[in-house]
């Protein structure tokens, strides 16, 4: 479905002493995502998970290597062209607009502004209120509401490939279960190849295949039980950045 061949992504390292030494975020990575499968992409922070997802959508251009979609080379295609071929992307931090409503975004995503069609889509997400359509997609929305909108715009496209970058960011624990079920239902109904970048166990347990990205490469691929020892070994601590320093304050995590 999606085939990555020797894909690399290099950026100038802003932290390097000479100011521009190249830093390889994704290193010569090859992998084939199969049609209709649910992939959980996980790994330590800064390992390259989100970057990999963005390379597939075309948000970042690959430095070298090729990307194929159903056998067609899409390496040179723009975000728009990839979207029109059936690849959809859910952003970790959804864009907020002034003056654009959920109805506007959903109509663009679905390619129709027919209210009946839009209601069918939001029903798939479990949004019952038609009034919700006229919410402005601005900074007043809660984390849970904006996430529902993000999900709705992806589902509305009936994509062949759906990529979700940390879809549980900003939502409460109780919403994650239904979200996992929704992605599974969509996958079953439309044979959507689903990729979820996440640290969350709920998504990784739902995945047919867990891919662990570390240091820009695939460190593991297989079921979750096989990934667990490696994940524990990495002892992923989300506070590593703030913990580094000279004086020790007795970390109790």
């Amino acid at each position: 479905m999606i085939e990555l061949k020797n894909v690399s992504f290099v950026v100038p390292d802003e932290e390097s002493t000479n100011g521009g030494e190249p830093k390889e975020i994704i290193k010569d990575l090859s992998f084939t995502f199969e049609e209709g499968k649910f992939y959980g992409i996980t790994g330590p922070n800064g390992g390259g998970k989100t970057t990999l997802a963005k390379l597939i959508m075309g948000i970042n251009p690959v430095t070298s290597g090729r990307i194929f979609f159903r056998g067609e080379d899409i390496t040179g295609l723009s975000i728009t062209e990839r979207a029109r071929k059936g690849i959809a992307y859910g952003f970790q931090h959804s864009a907020r607009f002034k003056g654009t409503t959920f109805r506007d975004l959903l109509s663009i995503a679905a390619g129709t502004d027919d209210e009946g069609e839009l209601i069918k889509i939001i029903a798939r997400l479990g949004i019952c209120s038609i009034d919700f359509l006229d919410n402005p997609v601005n900074s007043r929305l809660s984390g849970g509401e904006i996430k529902k909108i993000e999900l709705a715009t992806i589902i509305a496209r009936n994509p062949k490939v759906a990529i979700y970058d940390e879809p549980d960011t900003g939502i409460d624990l109780w919403t994650i279960g239904p979200m996992v079920e929704l992605l599974k239902r969509e996958k079953e109904a439309f044979k959507t190849t689903t990729m979820v970048v996440s640290h969350n166990k709920a998504f990784l347990e739902a995945a047919d295949d867990v891919i662990l990205i570390r240091g820009g490469q695939i460190a593991y691929e297989g079921d979750l039980s096989g990934a667990k020892p490696i994940l524990e070994d990495l002892s992923v601590c989300g506070f590593a950045n703030v913990c580094e320093g000279e004086s020790y304050a007795e970390c109790y995590r």
Partner: protein
């Protein structure tokens, strides 16, 4: 009689397909072209002969009045002084607007000096659109002045829109808001090429529990320039908010200068302002939904100015 250009201008500024129903006053090239009064809405020429007085009877509900101005005469600079008296407890919509068609190298302009007196507990919606069209190279100039006096419990909503073609605009808005009254002003301005637009706003909250909310949305394209000034002054326990956002495209220049002045300890005043290019995450989102770059830009601007 309305010619093709008149019809096009009327449609642009007042959404009119021809002569409107109800009360109206149409001014063309500095002269009265048509007027109709209704049982509750009277329109007459003022004493000086340089404008009209519109009187709306107390208790007039759900009526509207159209007062468009159209200009297509080279070299004409039309100035009018209009007074609106909105009677107590009424609820009306006033649709104004000015359309300029410039077909020569001579400039054309219109200055509408409007004064509104909104009676106790009355509600008024004022919609004003400014447009300029035509192939001529002459400058199209629009300098509106709007003064609003709100009596106790009155409510006024003013939508002021200028979406293209106007080379020079100097707008002045003034408001005085008494106890329990509210004023909401929404200004939307798009400029392009070397156009310049300036908006100066002086609003005073004089009565207890009065409210003012002024929202400005600017899109600054090409080499155009927009300046936006607000002075919001509180002299009682009241609420005031200013929101000004500008999107800069190409080489546009934008200044926004909001000022809040509290002369009462219970005044609550806020403002938010932003100037910048279209946010990249907005473009990415729309492109990932299948729009190309230009379509995405258009959708964002359309929403912003809606």
């Amino acid at each position: 009689m309305l010619n093709a250009i008149d019809k096009e201008l009327l449609k642009e500024v007042a959404d009119l397909e021809g002569i409107p129903k109800g009360a109206y006053n149409i001014r063309k090239n500095g002269e009265l072209m048509g007027r109709e009064v209704s049982a509750n809405i009277n329109i007459e020429t003022n004493e000086a002969g340089n404008g009209i007085i519109i009187r709306i009877k107390p208790g007039t509900i759900n009526e509207s009045v159209h007062i468009p101005v159209i200009l297509s005469k080279a070299g004409l600079h039309d100035v009018v002084y209009n007074t609106f008296e909105v009677g107590e407890n009424s609820d009306v919509t006033i649709i104004a607007g000015c359309g300029i068609h410039c077909g020569s190298s001579e400039s054309e302009g219109h200055s509408g000096i409007h004064e509104f007196r909104i009676g106790k507990n009355a509600r008024m919606k004022y919609v004003e659109k400014h447009v300029a069209t035509g192939e001529g190279t002459g400058k199209r100039i629009l300098n509106p002045t709007t003064k609003v006096f709100l009596e106790e419990g009155a409510y006024a909503e003013m939508e002021l829109t200028q979406l293209g073609g106007v080379d020079e605009a100097k707008r002045v808005n003034e408001g005085e808001i008494k106890a329990g009254a509210s004023l909401l002003i929404t200004e939307r301005v798009m400029t392009d090429k070397t156009q310049e637009a300036e908006s100066k706003n002086e609003l005073i909250l004089v009565g207890e529990n009065s409210k003012a909310n002024i929202v400005s949305r600017s899109v600054v394209k090409g080499d155009s320039k927009q300046d936006f000034f607000v002075n919001l002054e509180a002299r009682a326990k009241c609420y005031g908010h200013i929101e000004c956002d500008a999107i800069i495209m190409d080489r546009g220049i934008s200044q926004t200068i909001p000022a809040l002045k509290a002369f009462h300890p219970d005044a609550e005043m806020t403002h938010e302002a932003s100037i910048g290019k279209i946010a990249n995450d907005q473009l990415m989102k729309l492109m990932s939904l299948g729009l190309d770059y230009d379509e995405a830009v258009n959708r964002i601007i359309q929403g912003f100015l809606k």
